[in-house]
């Protein structure tokens, strides 16, 4: 094991890497933008290379979100920082009820990053944009000295147009509503953890990093009956339930045995003493829906190719505990959030 402090990078000569000069506004900066970034991400709006992108007029309500991506290693089984930076922001727009339109892209690059790695990230960004039907409208590049960031940080801001019917939000969750997840949970966090720490599982656990476009399309006809949606990223499904319990004033209860968890994620979680409910997803969302709609929602997701979509619990009148789980012996007990990042146990 190499302690997984970085992803395996090819040996590079100085001309093959990003240097501080690439960020100092000189010819090297222009070359970096023109020959690498614009070349890959090209589209009529970006190609203007103005200080601000002209997006034109629109008759719909405009929605905006932003997110920063600092994953290490940059490439992991099932994804990479580039595609994740697109999917993550697109998913935030989608679950808020927007049709994603375009993104900004801000790159903070550590001096010494091989240009070949940057090229690969840019290509993955472009591929992900095409997959999601969005484009990069504007961007920025900064280079910082070695040690001031971890190879590459990315920020994307997304703009989308509001759909006719927006989800009401977690405050609208009522007693009797059902909780649904669209796929197996904890995939992303476990994949990155295993890769980062050189835990060589065969097969390696894969991240679920993907856009939620197909899920949203499948749910479109049912949307007026969906109370709220959330992609269960940092903190996992557990964190979403805690937030929703606070917003709604209900107690949210889930049944441990109904939560879909893949064999790989279960195995790694069992070994390391982690609870997949606290582990990040990057392509799985949680929904709260009216109980009469729950069956239709799950059927629609199954028919759209998401066989693991499951009804995992319900909302009920608040007692003193915000989130509870029903375990093996049918006992209901409080489900607490971890303090900080979950840490693997000793034995």
């Amino acid at each position: 094991m190499n302690n997984g402090l970085d992803c395996p990078l090819p040996q590079s000569s100085p001309s093959d890497v990003v240097s501080l000069a690439h960020g100092e506004g000189s010819g090297l900066t222009r070359r970096l933008i023109q020959d690498r970034i614009k070349k890959v991400l090209t589209n009529p709006v970006l190609d203007q290379l103005g200080d601000a992108a002209l997006l034109g007029e629109c008759s719909r309500q405009v929605m905006m979100t932003t997110d920063s991506f600092v994953v290490s290693p940059l490439k992991f089984p099932g994804g990479d920082i580039g595609s994740m930076a697109v999917y993550g922001t697109v998913n935030d727009l989608l679950v808020s009820g927007a049709v994603p339109h375009c993104l900004s892209l801000s790159l903070i690059i550590e001096e010494g990053l091989p240009l070949s790695v940057l090229d690969e990230v840019l290509e993955n960004i472009q591929r992900a944009c095409e997959e999601c039907g969005v484009f990069i409208a504007t961007g920025d590049t900064k280079v910082v000295a070695r040690g001031e960031c971890d190879l590459l940080f990315i920020n994307t801001t997304g703009i989308g147009f509001a759909r006719d019917v927006l989800p009401l939000g977690p405050a609208s969750i009522e007693q009797g509503d059902e909780l649904i997840v669209t796929g197996p949970i904890g995939q992303h966090g476990i994949a990155v953890l295993a890769c980062r720490n050189g835990l060589n599982f065969t097969p390696p656990p894969l991240s679920d990093s993907k856009p939620l476009v197909a899920e949203l399309a499948a749910l479109e006809p049912l949307m007026p009956r969906v109370r709220c949606m959330r992609d269960a990223t940092r903190g996992g499904v557990g964190a979403v339930l805690q937030e929703w319990a606070e917003s709604s004033g209900c107690t949210l209860t889930f049944r441990v045995q109904d939560v879909p968890v893949s064999l790989e994620v279960r195995a790694v979680s069992e070994l390391l003493g982690l609870d997949p409910m606290h582990v990040a997803c990057e392509g799985t969302m949680v929904l709260a829906v009216n109980s009469s709609t729950a069956k239709d929602v799950v059927t629609a997701l199954h028919n759209a190719g998401f066989p693991c979509a499951s009804r995992i619990g319900t909302a009920r009148e608040r007692d003193i505990v915000p989130v509870t789980c029903v375990g093996l012996l049918g006992q209901e007990q409080p489900f607490q959030e971890p303090l900080g990042a979950p840490l693997p146990r000793i034995c």
């Binding site: 607490q336 146990r345 034995c347």
Partner: protein, 368 residues
Amino acid sequence: MKYVDEFRDSQAASKILASIRQLAKRRWRIMDVCGGQTHNLVKYGIEAALEGVVDLIHGPGCPVCVTPAEVIDVACELSQRSGVVVMSFGDMLRVPGVKTSLNSARAAGGNIRTVYSPVEAVEFARSQPESEVVFFAVGFETTIPATALAVKQAAALGLKNFSLLTHHVRVLPAMLQLMQGQDIEIDAFLAAGHVCTVTGFEDYGTLTAEFSVPVVITGFEPLDLLHGILRAVSLLETSECGVVNEYARSAAAGGNVAAMQLVDEIYEVVNQSWRGLGVIPASGYAIRECFQRFDAQRRFELSAPNHVNESSSECRCGDVLQGKLKPLECPAFGTKCRPEHPLGAPMVSSEGACAAYIQIQPQPLGTT
């Protein structure tokens, strides 16, 4: 998942629970000595399901909790030294020493890294010859062979920048000490299945012979735990006494001979100081003379840490660690002592008994 699902079958669990309820004519006091077992008894609702039938009490089974505060301070101090990297298991980071925790020491500039295996620390030392790598080696017999292997590998590689700050502990001497105490009543033990997988359980005969206390080697899954409790109750009800293995898929009487030979090659048995329990004879391991160059204590010429008396009127973690007090009975539990502001180690460690109980303790919104 094989070896997991079949041991979490809720119908089978209900049947065993019914058998225990039917069989137990007295409210027997059964102690586990493993943090993993404590957590699963609470997490799977077994303790709650047996309330009023069997008293499950939790002994000093959390390796992090029994590491003395002053030893943690030594690790923190080492991490602040120029060129030194302290590596340990993640579980160790939040546990408070007398002055600070590894987490706080790291925030204050200490060079501290978490690893999943001591062998990772050896690999790190090999790749970073300019660093002095100290692995903070705590744990029971489950962990000790891995740290012994790390020393062996470091020796084979000829590393001159790798050492261990050890606080290894042995379970059986602690069980004997608990039985010798006057103020605790233990009717039977659930012995830690994974410790026994390494050490075997032939030595447990001395415990049963001397104190007439049945010992059931028990695994960790809900059905393992229920089978262990059922067997203990059955032995107690028929006045039988002996060492019974209910974890045969992992533990054998002779243990893991290769692992124990390795431990014996690197370490010698010594008296050890336990947090909350004091010094217990022959309850720990120290690095043998011939491997002393890998002993951080000698390498950095550290003086033996002064034992700190942590007796506090508020935190009763010593009594909790000895099973004299249930976490819920501690006056500070859940109020002055919580995971975000712990007074004692059992509230911090993921294997600590207080941390297990707080997980299922209703907690009104806005208290954190």
